[in-house]
Symmetry: C2
Subunit: 684 residues, 2 copies
């Protein structure tokens, strides 16, 4: 049996994908089938708890949970109408467990369909006529960028609609940055690849619809040095950056077997799926359970330009695009420095065969400066340790934009989740004479507006601190009252912390002014020294929440963007804070609605001392800078998880002190060039 | 002349310190003189602007400003009364420019005086009697930790008062962590080294004064492994962390001549003084002026325990202690990794001679992951650059605690200021039976309470963006109204930014919910592409402000802790947001009072399009975790400065793409150990 050494958290292996595909295909003999997803259906937690307990006690007689695949496919029947199906397949017995048709739902973006949309759009006569009217310079190539339609209430959403934005290349290079030349043409394409509308885009803040049919303004064509990023099209790069290499003469400190990773005192399992990309499971430190699962659950990118059709720009980069399916094939020495372990992933072809995605995750160590230091001022003796981090990085490309996601594990038992936004801004055309007057965008090049937008991420945290019954506590630091005889605070300097245990599911906001801290505690486990429940705390990335009006489709479709911290009672497969099917969704499927539905149905369970999931919404209100153009230097966001009275002391206290003998640093000796010195700063 | 190649921003050279000392000593023939400070008085900005313009145009005929020393000394006259003096010395002509006695002010902490205080305290009979009553175990050594007295209004502040806290070593090792054994004895020592009071400390939350005279509870003595950090006293450290080396085969990318530093497109000058430690001057990118000066201006650490005498714990770590004078002598391979340039500093002895402080600043490069990346999804071609940072790091020890300060320069023209807090928590005694009941502290070991406290830093930012007339602008991102006929927002998704120019000096708060951004703009310089003023923005570290009551001495003495962002009109020597003389200060000298005084006197100048200084207050409300014990893994805080429509594109666009050829990474090949695999996670 090929599954002999498969762990229940392991993604489906290629042979499992093949098998699931075959089993399912036999169910759809008549139809034209497009396999969108063949992925692991993770085992129920109730089953896994026992399994993991056995595993960590190294008990061999553990019962493996059922191995199960989730399959999503589009079947076209004889009337050529696409229908979305979800099936669950029992891979132990090769049988289909369930099959349902998902009425009114759409699968995530199909890149081969999008290519057909682009071709159909360019082949359309009205589109061709509109492009002719632009009178583009000779040799220019129009480019169509197909986007999922973000619901704005103006169309029936039962069929797929694609928004086609137009750009242009003025130079003959396949990697020329066409986002530097947005055209003011727009087209809409139907499920059946029919162009349903062609129109012009507004080019000024006060322009609501642009029917001028004017030609393309050739003054918008500018020097390549200002808008190109590809080395072929750039002047010679700076040569001042000297090589910098990371050498690990004894190899890395991690040990990897399959998807199991051990590093310093950490252990966890690496997962991956088409939607969330990298997932982490069964995270332990020094043998103690910390988190059952960590993953990015969703990302929403709403654009803030009110002019039609821009409200249709609102991307669910996980639900619509997929962080897994869009993961980059990472390259040694470029995306990752040092000694690197790469993880591959397996997706599926349209016909249900396995498709290898190489190097989608890199794993490596980084030096992170000083971990801790103390100098005894009485003896002058310094004790200093360096901080080593383990990084698991994955990078995704979503059309113009990229995100770099990294889980960072530290020797002091803290975890950081870092997001870097980079890539190319989404651009729209802008009249040249409107340069400075742009209430919701930044002009980044002549005739190029980069509209304001937000990036809202949802990090899903499934704590399992010394067990699966945990509580969410909101701590605030508050000044003690003065002038209150019952409180001893004669000098007015006293402050205290107040802990509020959250009892019900819901969303909460940050409050920096109260140093509000969200803690996950295990009330059943009291720290022997502090006398308080063991716990971890969230170090949030303080962020503005969704700006769109609560009644807007952006708001109704995202839901998680309303509050910074959400807590829900754990449910299997509840991984979707904006709903599972976000493509052209109408709203009402997100985390707030789910909570509301459970409450309305009388099914709301207390989240106190229960199996809870915490969701952190963070991101950026990205009002572009011109410095983000033509490709954006990374913008970092960081979320942390730190023990708070979980251990009985600094978990990194046993890290060996740093020595020059091991670290082999080099002393820089100053260049002395008297002439230079005299010439740039000397006193004569 | 020895000053031949001295730049006006260079700290005083040893021979200048000697000369200043000699000149001043000749003024105090009769008195016993203790030189506290002989430091550079930086030239007036009005003079420096012209000088720097000439310098950067490489004009040789520039007039050097007067070289001037500021001297602070304590002179004891025949009646042995210490008096504080400040003198300014013209080093070009060897004459004293000014001399004033500072009535009612105290100089910063004098470590040799503090040693005398400790000795006097231990020699005192009442202290000895109190220690006898404790009945410490045989071989235990009591230790006195002398602290500056934080004003609480209970004493006349004209003379120095020192608070003496008592600890104990139970093992014979000079680096044993005595903070693990706080004793409940306290003593106060006068300027004349007389013990004025001896008493017991409270040991329970509800205990206001402890007069029990009870002996030391021997059950508080615990295993060394829980409280010691020195390798001699620790079990064998973990041996899993493999060596990690940074190799720069062609040397570093920086070029240093004296205090002038060039790296990538950056140039600036490194300064250092006893109080602020590291200062940076005349910071430019690609030849364009960005900042006239950057420095940490103050740090306040108020403790939140209301019980007397703990309100007397409130440390101004710059004003009272000095970030320069307490800077560590950094070690190659331990404090810094890679190719390292060290800067030395010069202070002065009590007798006015130069005193070398070696290796107080290290300068090195770091790889910082990916700078920017884009993959063209149509061609699959990825272009990726790595981010190199230049780090200037200095580390200070203030009694039990350490701070690691680092300015980080990036290739995209951003600057980060990172603070890491580490070291040992300040501890107080606690009754064993009170373990869990601690409203304002955490029990970190038996009988050891680590009280709540705050760290509030003031980063002083003197912008000079393309010139010295700059403005502070508060940008907010706001939803567009809906249902307003005058505003086109039919789908409710529109949002816009609103800029408010600050006209008057004052303090401002952050507002994450509005994505409030503080920008420094030069209104006289319009970006040719965006059509908006060129600028930089502050990326603040969102922090709770001072918790102490506004009427408390903590609040009155710190002032800058009230708001996150302050703006003032530039004045020479205005570097002190909590006042210049913070030792036992009474308040009324800080940034708010200075603003108020100028306003009251009718001297308030507009800060719009003016020479402004921006002060950012940030820090942490540090409610200790047991994981911070016995030595704290670093807690990071980061402030950033980023261009916002200052350039005409990504300033790091010309960084060469990453290549494996230069970076020489190594591919990790999985270990395959079937037995292990089967034993920890396999399905049998």
């Amino acid at each position: 049996m090929t599954t002999a050494t498969i762990h229940p958290f392991d993604p489906l292996r290629p042979e499992e994908i093949t098998r699931a595909g075959k089993i399912v295909r036999s169910e759809f003999v008549e139809e034209d089938v497009n396999f969108r997803v063949i992925t692991l259906k993770e085992p129920p937690k109730a089953v896994m708890i026992g399994y993991l307990e056995h595993e960590h006690r190294r008990q061999l007689e553990r019962q493996a949970p059922l191995r199960c695949a989730r399959v999503e496919l589009i079947a076209k029947n004889t009337s050529n109408k696409p229908e979305l199906f979800e099936l669950l397949v029992n891979l132990d017995d090769d049988v289909i467990i369930s099959r349902k048709r998902l009425e009114g739902k759409h699968s995530y973006i199909d890149s081969s369909y999008m290519q057909k949309v682009e071709a159909a759009c360019l082949a359309d006569e009205r589109v061709q006529e509109e492009i002719r009217k632009l009178k583009l310079p000779l040799g220019s190539t129009p480019i169509v960028e197909a986007w999922a339609y973000a619901t704005d209430g103006m169309n029936d959403m039962t069929e797929r609609i694609t928004m086609c934005w137009f750009y242009c290349r003025h130079i003959e290079h396949p990697d020329a940055n066409y986002y530097a030349y947005p055209l003011d043409v727009c087209a809409e394409v139907s499920e059946q690849l029919r162009v349903t509308r062609v129109y012009r885009l507004p080019g000024a803040p006060n322009e609501r619809v642009n029917n001028a049919d004017h030609p393309y303004d050739h003054q918008k064509i500018h020097a390549t040095s200002a808008s190109e990023y590809h080395p072929d099209l750039r002047p010679k790069p700076r040569d001042t950056t000297k090589p910098y290499q990371v050498v690990q003469p004894e190899g890395p400190s991690f040990k990897i077997q399959g998807n199991s990773l051990n590093w310093e005192k950490w252990s966890f399992r690496v997962g991956f799926n088409y939607r969330e990309g990298l997932t982490l499971h069964d995270i332990r430190y020094d043998g103690r359970s910390l988190f059952y699962r960590l993953s990015l659950a969703e990302m929403f990118v709403p654009y803030g330009d009110p002019r039609s059709p821009y409200p249709r720009k609102g991307a669910f980069d996980l639900g619509n695009d997929g962080a897994g399916i869009n993961a980059n094939n990472l390259k040694l020495g470029c995306d990752c420095l040092g000694t690197i372990k790469y993880f591959d992933a397996w997706h599926n072809t349209q016909s249900g065969e396995p498709l290898k995605m190489p190097n989608v995750v890199c794993c490596h160590e980084q030096d992170d400066g000083i971990l801790w230091k103390h100098t005894n001022f009485r003896t002058g003796n310094a004790v200093v340790t360096r901080s080593r981090m383990l990084v698991l990085q994955t990078i995704i490309t979503v059309s113009n934009y990229e995100y770099i996601f990294a889980f960072q594990f530290c020797q002091d038992a803290s975890i950081f989740y870092e997001v870097r936004a980079t890539g190319i801004l989404s651009t729209v055309p802008h009249h040249l004479e409107q340069q400075g007057r742009t209430p919701c965008g930044t002009v980044v090049a002549p005739g190029v507006l980069a509209p304001y937008h937000q990036h809202l991420f949802s990090l899903r945290i499934d704590p399992a601190l010394d067990g699966h019954k945990n509580s969410l506590v909101i701590e605030e630091s508050k000044p003690m009252p003065t002038g209150d005889a019952a409180v001893h605070n004669p000098f007015g300097v006293g402050y205290y912390t107040e802990d509020r245990y959250v009892e019900q599911e819901g969303g909460f906001d940050l409050d920096i002014s109260k140093a509000r801290v969200f803690k996950f505690l295990n009330e059943n486990k009291i720290n022997p020294i502090t006398g308080t429940p063991v716990g971890f705390k969230l170090l949030p990335q303080p962020s503005q929440m969704l700006l769109a009006h609560p009644d807007s489709f952006h708001a109704k479709r995202s839901e998680f963007g309303k509050h910074a911290v959400w807590v829900t009672h754990y449910e299997d497969d509840d991984h979707f804070p904006a709903g599972r099917y976000t493509m052209q969704s109408l709203g009402g499927d997100g985390i707030a609605s789910q909570i509301q539905k459970r409450r309305a149905a009388g099914n709301a369970q207390s989240v106190r001392n229960a199996d809870i999931v915490v969701w952190h919404t963070f991101g950026s209100t990205h009002n572009p800078r011109i410095e983000d153009w033509p490709v954006m230097p990374n913008e970092k966001m960081t979320v942390g998880l730190k023990p708070v009275n979980f251990f009985t002391g600094n978990p990194g206290l046993d890290v060996a002190v740093s020595t020059q003998e091991k670290n082999k640093s080099v002393l820089y000796t100053e260049e002395t060039d008297e002439k230079q010195d005299t010439c740039c700063g000397a006193r004569l």
